[in-house]
C-alpha cells in the first residue's frame, strides 16, 4: 500500500522527480568515473613498476634478489616452469638468467646488466617490446642478437645492426665473451635501465656464462597484480624452502611506499569527491522532500500517522535512489569504459615519469573495479535516504496546521 502511494507520489511531480534523478545520475556516474580513473592511475604505476622489468612475482633462490650472486641459481627444469605457469592466478612465466659485465664497442666500454630471456615467454610478463625506439625486438630464436637501452646505445654509439662485445666473468672463472648484434634499442624512461640494461637470449647467455640449464629467476605475471602478494605466498608454500618468492611489493619496497603515499592523497581526493557528490545529492533530495512539508501537513490532517508518513517518504526516496543509481551506474560504467578504451593522452605535454624503478606513462585512463561501483552506490543511497528522512521526520513532528502554513 505504502509502496503504491510512494510510486504514485514520485510520478505526480514528474519534473521535480526528474530533476532530482538527473542530479543523482550525473553525480554518481562522475564519482564512479573518478574512482575508475584513480584505479587506472594506480594500475599504471603498478604496471610501470612491474611490466617493464620485474614482473609481478619473481621466484628465485633465497637471497638472490638481494645479493645478485650468480651462483644462487636454480635448475631450468620444464616441470618447474610448467608448475609455476599452471599455478592459480599466474598468466605468464618467464625463465631468466642475469649477468653483469661490460659492453664494448670501439673504444667505449661500459658496465652493463645482461638479462637472458626466452623472448616468447618474456612477452607474457614484461612489455619491453612495446618500448622500442629503433630496430626490432628479439625474435624467438634470437641467437646473438640483443636489444639495449637508449642511453647505453648512445654512449656506445651503436645503432641497430651494429656489433658490440660483451665480456663477463663466467661461472667457471673464465672470461666469457662474445660478439653480439644490436637488433633493437628501447627507451623506458627509467635511467637505470636505459643506461645499462641489455636483453639477450637465455640459451646464449647460459652458454657464455657457463651456466648450462641454470636460471636466476622465473618472473611471473598474475591476472590481478594487486593480489600478487597472495599469489606469492601461495607459491612459496608449495616450493622448496630454499626458494624465495617475492611479489612486486617486496621486490620494490620504495614502490610500495610510493603507492602508499599515492593512496593517501587519493584518499583525501576521494573524501573530497564523496563530500561534494554527497552534498549535491543531499541538497537535491533534501529540498525535494522539504518543499512538500505543506503536502505532508495536509496528509497528517487527513489522519495519516507520522510513522507512516516517514515510511512513505523513505520508500519514495529509496525508489528514486534505486532508479537513479541504476541509471548512474549504467552511465558511470559507460564513462569508465570510454576512459579505459580511449583515455586522455598527455604525452604532448609530459614525458614519461620515472620513480622508484617504474615509469608512469603520461596519460589518464580508467580501470574497471567492482568496488568502484558498489561502494559509491551504497554510500550515495544511504546519503539520499538520510536526505529524505531528515525533512520527513521534521514534517512528521510538526502539527498539521503548522506544516500546512509553512511555505
Amino acid at each position: 500500500m505504502l509502496l503504491t502511494l510512494a510510486t504514485r507520489n514520485i510520478w505526480r511531480n514528474k519534473r521535480r522527480t526528474l530533476l532530482t534523478l538527473s542530479a543523482m545520475v550525473v553525480s554518481s556516474s562522475l564519482l564512479m568515473l573518478s574512482l575508475g580513473i584513480f584505479s587506472g592511475m594506480l594500475m599504471d604505476i603498478l604496471a610501470s613498476a612491474t611490466e617493464q622489468y620485474h614482473g609481478h612475482v619473481v621466484v628465485s633462490r633465497s637471497g638472490y634478489q638481494d645479493e645478485r650472486d650468480m651462483f644462487l641459481n636454480i635448475a631450468d627444469e620444464p616441470q618447474l616452469l610448467a608448475r609455476l605457469a599452471a599455478s592459480p592466478g599466474v598468466v605468464g612465466a618467464s625463465p631468466r638468467l642475469r649477468a653483469f659485465g661490460l659492453l664494448s664497442r670501439g673504444n667505449n666500454t661500459y658496465p652493463a646488466e645482461i638479462l637472458g630471456i626466452e623472448p616468447g615467454r618474456e612477452r607474457q610478463v614484461t612489455h619491453l617490446d612495446h618500448k622500442l625506439i629503433a630496430g626490432s625486438y628479439l625474435p624467438d630464436d634470437a641467437g646473438r642478437q640483443v636489444v639495449i637501452g637508449r642511453g647505453l646505445a648512445e654512449k656506445l654509439g651503436a645503432t641497430p645492426g651494429d656489433e658490440v662485445v660483451f665480456v663477463t666473468q663466467a661461472a667457471d672463472g673464465s672470461i666469457g665473451n662474445d660478439l653480439l648484434t644490436v637488433s633493437g634499442i628501447f627507451e623506458t624512461g627509467d635511467a637505470g635501465h636505459d643506461n645499462a640494461l641489455v636483453m639477450a637470449e637465455l640459451a646464449w647467455l647460459q652458454e657464455v656464462m657457463v651456466l648450462p640449464g641454470r636460471l636466476h629467476e622465473v618472473a611471473l605475471s598474475v591476472a590481478d597484480p594487486r593480489l600478487a602478494d597472495a599469489a606469492a605466498a601461495d607459491l612459496a608454500a608449495r616450493l622448496p624452502a630454499d626458494f624465495e618468492v617475492l611479489d612486486w611489493g617486496r621486490l620494490l619496497p620504495e614502490m610500495r611506499e610510493v603507492i602508499a603515499s599515492y593512496d593517501v592523497s587519493r584518499m583525501i581526493l576521494v573524501v573530497i569527491l564523496y563530500s561534494a557528490t554527497g552534498l549535491g545529492i543531499l541538497n537535491t533530495f533534501f529540498m525535494s522532500v522539504l518543499e512538500r512539508t505543506r503536502e505532508f501537513g495536509i496528509l497528517m490532517a487527513m489522519g495519516m500517522k507520522p510513522w507512516k508518513l516517514r515510511a512513505m517518504v523513505l520508500l519514495e526516496t529509496l525508489v528514486m535512489g534505486l532508479l537513479s543509481l541504476a541509471a548512474g551506474i549504467t552511465l558511470g560504467l559507460l564513462l569508465t569504459w570510454y576512459m579505459q578504451a580511449v583515455g586522455i593522452d598527455l604525452s604532448g605535454y609530459l614525458t614519461p615519469v620515472t620513480y622508484a624503478g617504474g615509469t608512469i606513462l603520461p596519460r589518464l585512463s580508467a580501470v574497471f573495479e567492482a568496488k568502484n561501483i558498489w561502494v559509491p552506490a551504497l554510500i550515495l543511497l544511504a546519503t539520499c535516504l538520510l536526505a529524505g528522512y531528515l525533512p520527513a521526520r521534521r514534517a512528521a513532528r510538526l502539527r498539521p496546521v503548522e506544516a500546512i502554513r509553512e511555505n
Binding site: L102, P111, V167, G173, D178, L179
Partner: protein, 246 residues
Amino acid sequence: MPIRHSLFALMLLLLLPGTALSLDLAELVREVEVQYTGRSSFALVSMEVRTENWERRMEMESWSYGRDYFLTRITEPAKEKGVTTLKAEKEVWNYLPKVDRVIKVPASMMGGFWMGSHITNDDLVKGSQVDKDYTFGLLEETDQSWLIECLPRPEAAVVWGKIHYRIAKAGRIPMQVEYFDEAMEKVREILFEDVQSVQGRAIPLRMVVQPLDKPAERTVMQYRDIEFDIAIGQEFFSLRNLKKRP
C-alpha cells in the same frame, strides 16, 4: 736504476713493499727484489685457482719489462687460448681472440678478479706503486728469517692496515706475506715455495694466494720456466702487440 721483473715478480711487488726508507731494510728489500729482476723477463707460468664455485688451471706465457709493463697470454685451456692481458703503467687491456677485440678495463671494473683468480685487476695496477706507499720496520729476527712490518703511509691509497713480510736469510728470498685490515685482522696471505736456482739466482717458483675469510679458496702460480734479460723493450708492450702473436 730501472727495476725489472717478471709477472711473478710483479705479483711479488704488488704484495711486497719495495724500496724502504730505513736503511737496512731498504737494502734488504732491494736485495730480495734484485733476485727477481732482470731488465726484462719471459716466463711460462701455470695458474691454478680454487674457489667455492670453480676450479681451473691455466697455462700462460708472460713478458715483462720494468715495473710498469707486462703482457701475458693464455695458452691453455683451449677455450681461452689467446686471451691476452696488457698492463702498461696504470692501464689494463684485455684482448679477446674469440671476438678479435681489445677492451680496456674501466675504473668501475678494476675490482674484478683477474682471470678468475684471487688477484684483482687493481692488484695488477697497484703493484708498481708499493714503495711509495709503505714505511718499513723490522718486527722480528730469527736465525732463519726477518719479519718486516710494512705500514702504509698515512695518505697512501692502500686498503690494508699493515703487511707482514717474512724473508729467509738464506738466499734472501721471500717466504710469506700477510695482509691485515685496519682492525689488524688478517685478511689474506701469500706463501712462497719451491725455491730453485735460476740463472744463478735462488727464487721461489711457486706462489700461493690464500684469502683467509674463505679458507677453502686459493690461487697457486707456478713458474715452469723463467728467463731474465731477454731482448725486448718498452715498445713491445703496445696495443698492437696485444693483438698479434709476438
